[in-house]
């Protein structure tokens, strides 16, 4: 079932028509499916976009919960170890990643190692894929993050079911990715300003609304779906 889910999603991913900046999310019993689209119509280069999306220092600056991010291996085939600290709990997440770096296209796919470190405690499985394409007018990126969370239990008592936990986790992911979006939009000049831009943006309040609405609806319903697009900037 998981394989079919991933395969279908990958097929959809590879044939995605680039949309304006925004995201689509679906959470159900099978897991979550988050798709984010970014489009940069300025003078951003493909490799500057890649640098922003992979540099541990940038990611750490934008997300205070990420305590460290280290990569080992070759530039195109590596392991990424992310240490996250949330509510006083430290979690070590190890992923295997592969990249293809071309003149006009960059792709990266990562798979969480659920059998190593803390990955399996919170996730049944997780993959994420990024594809950025440079055209004459713009750099467009599509991110597909798929996975299935486990319920959160403390001393054997379930405090969050798997779907509610998926909402919380994806809210964090959306915040981080949209801060990165503003960082790239400003030509990678400042994480400080990118965070400030995000805080003032309509995306932030939209993500907060998504958090409230999804948490509420998933109490009674098994499926939740949501989409958002940023208004076109002039």
């Amino acid at each position: 079932m998981k394989k079919i889910f991933v395969t279908i999603s990958t097929l959809i991913f590879s044939s995605t028509l680039w949309a304006a900046t925004g995201y689509d999310i679906r959470i159900d019993d099978k897991g979550y499916d988050l798709r984010i689209e970014f489009e940069f119509k300025g003078f951003q280069t493909l490799h500057a976009v890649r640098n922003a999306l992979i540099k541990p220092e940038v990611i750490k600056n934008l997300s205070p919960k990420i305590k460290s991010l280290t990569m080992s291996g070759s530039p195109t085939d590596y392991q990424s170890l992310m240490v996250v600290k949330s509510l006083g709990v430290k979690t070590q997440l190890l992923s295997k990643c592969k990249e293809t770096i071309g003149e006009k296209e960059w792709t990266r796919s990562c798979k969480l190692q659920t059998d190593l470190l803390d990955g399996g405690k919170y996730m049944e499985w997780k993959t994420d894929q990024v594809k950025c394409i440079k055209s004459d007018q713009s750099v467009a990126c599509s991110l597909v993050i798929l996975g299935k969370t486990r319920p959160i239990k403390i001393l054997g008592v379930q405090i969050l079911n798997d779907r509610s936990f998926a909402v919380k986790a994806k809210v964090e992911a959306l915040k981080n990715f949209f801060k990165l979006y503003y960082f790239i939009l400003d030509y990678n000049i400042s994480t400080r300003l990118a965070s400030a831009d995000f805080d003032k943006s309509p995306v932030k309040s939209e993500i907060e609304n998504f958090d409230k609405e999804a948490t509420q609806k998933l109490k009674d319903e098994k499926t939740y779906q949501h989409s958002f697009r940023l208004p076109e900037m002039k």
């Binding site: 500057a48 220092e57 600056n61 030509y187 000049i189 400042s190 994480t191």
Partner: protein, 462 residues
């Protein structure tokens, strides 16, 4: 003339004796003393003309592969001019005079003194007339020139303090001056032989200034006051980029043929550690890797630590690549600190407190010895298991130049210092230009002739 020396405790002691026997006062104009070191080679050596080979770095595919590593692109440069020591001062003043909208500076230190007064006056004039004059200065060094910075601020110059080690200046006329000089008399009085900073700057016009602009506003925006509005800066940057692309001076339009034509090409390269930009290290590794014949690099100090770059340079030297490092010797002293102490001593000797001079002299000697011993360890580490020639200049080497196989070179502010990488921001340019390459080679060869070849200490059995 060449000196060969053993940089051991014994030789240090010997040099101390030697040094104490001669006057070490720096620049005559500044210190009123004549320091003459017999046998200095001032003429540039004649070098056999190098053929313009189609080296790998001129290949479009190679440059495309570099594009994947950096935020910046290869650009075509209109003018490129190398300035030695004090010769950079007048062109810098001209750059300020040419400014119509903005003049930005990113330096380690900025000092108001009798030599920089004209520059300070020009900056004040421009700022008072409403032009956008900005200065990024190293936080630590800013405490040494607080009255000067206050004076600039009062005239309208905007100042931000950051962990910078960069040295560049640019204006709205697309003029850029970059290298390793700070704004202080030690740089603008130096001739390379008068015990002041031996330095170089390179002047360029064209799209490199756009890349410098982005680097500058990146550091600026990370450290500016909360009310800083980035919009105007970003809009201006976009305008600059638009013009560069329209003129086909940057990016893929330069790669229409398999090899670049023998024009002037450069790439702005910087280190912005807080954003994970460590492009200077990456660039050096890439270029050392493809370099075949000769590598010449210089700096205030060299600490290869356990980094990949040091290993790579050593490996290449063992594979037959000729590798020379030009750095500082005992006589070079501790840069500006030694120069300031020399200056104090010269002034004190003239007045009623001349009795303090011997104490200062002793401190200076102690500091020089301390530094020489530190360098000894670093040079030993660089030379160990490698065929690298290390040269110690008789004045204070401050320039950071990397000369690769013809026609590639790098000029900037970064030392090969593994301990500092990732801590401070630095900047430089990597260029391919036959004329400047030849000029640099002559300069480096001459400086090598005025240096001592470092030899590891020989253990003496008791």
């Amino acid at each position: 003339m060449r000196f060969y020396f053993h940089y051991s405790f014994l030789s240090t002691a010997f040099l101390l004796l030697l040094a104490s026997g001669c006057s070490k006062g720096p620049g005559e104009k500044l210190f009123g003393k004549n320091f003459r070191m017999e046998g200095i080679t001032k003429e540039l050596p004649k070098l056999s003309a190098e053929k313009f080979i189609t080296s790998k770095m001129l290949g479009s595919d190679y440059q495309k592969s570099l594009d994947t590593l950096f935020d910046t692109e290869l650009v075509k440069v209109e003018t490129l001019h190398l300035y030695q020591n004090k010769d950079s001062y007048r062109p810098l003043l001209d750059m300020i005079r040419n400014t119509k909208k903005y003049f930005f500076m990113n330096v380690l230190s900025f000092t108001c003194d009798n030599v920089t007064e004209e520059m300070v006056g020009q900056l004040e004039l421009k700022a008072k007339s409403g032009m956008d004059i900005r200065l990024i200065v190293n936080t630590g060094f800013s405490y040494l020139s607080m009255p000067c910075l206050k004076r600039l601020r009062n005239s309208g110059v905007k100042i931000v303090k950051a962990r910078t080690h960069s040295s560049y200046f640019f204006n709205d006329q697309q003029e850029l001056m970059i290298g390793s000089q700070s704004v202080a008399r030690m740089f603008f009085l130096a001739d390379g032989f008068n015990s002041l900073d031996r330095d170089m700057m390179i002047y360029a016009t064209g799209p490199l200034a756009s890349d410098a602009y982005r680097d500058f506003i990146s550091i600026w925006s990370e450290h500016a006051e909360k009310d800083y509005d980035k919009r105007a800066d970003l809009n201006y940057y976009q305008e600059l980029m638009k013009n560069d692309y329209a003129k086909k001076n940057r990016g893929s339009s330069l790669y229409t043929k398999s090899a670049l034509t023998p024009d002037r090409y450069c790439r702005f390269i910087s280190e912005r550690p807080n954003l994970g930009v460590k492009d200077i290290q990456v660039l050096w590794k890439e270029l050392v890797n493809i370099n075949q014949k000769e590598l010449f690099f210089s700096g205030v100090m060299v600490d290869i630590g356990a980094g990949d770059l040091g290993h790579l340079i050593k490996a290449k030297s063992n594979q037959g690549m000729s590798v020379h490092y030009l750095g500082n010797s005992f006589q070079s002293g501790n840069g500006e600190l030694s120069m300031v102490i020399d200056e104090w001593m010269a002034n004190i000797r003239k007045g009623s407190f001349s009795f303090i001079a011997p104490a200062l002299e002793k401190f200076n000697q102690w500091d020089k010895t301390r530094l020489a011993l530190k360098n000894q360890k670093l040079y030993d580490a660089l030379k160990s298991n490698a065929s690298i020639s290390v040269w110690g200049y008789f004045n204070f080497i401050h320039y950071k130049v990397w000369l690769f196989d013809h026609p590639g070179f790098f000029i900037g502010s970064a030392n090969l210092d593994e301990a500092k990488f990732g801590e401070i921001s630095d900047a430089g340019i990597y260029c391919m230009d036959a004329g400047i390459h030849q000029e640099l080679k002559q300069m480096l060869e001459r400086d090598k002739m005025n240096s001592m070849l470092y030899q590891p200490a020989i253990e003496v059995k008791k």
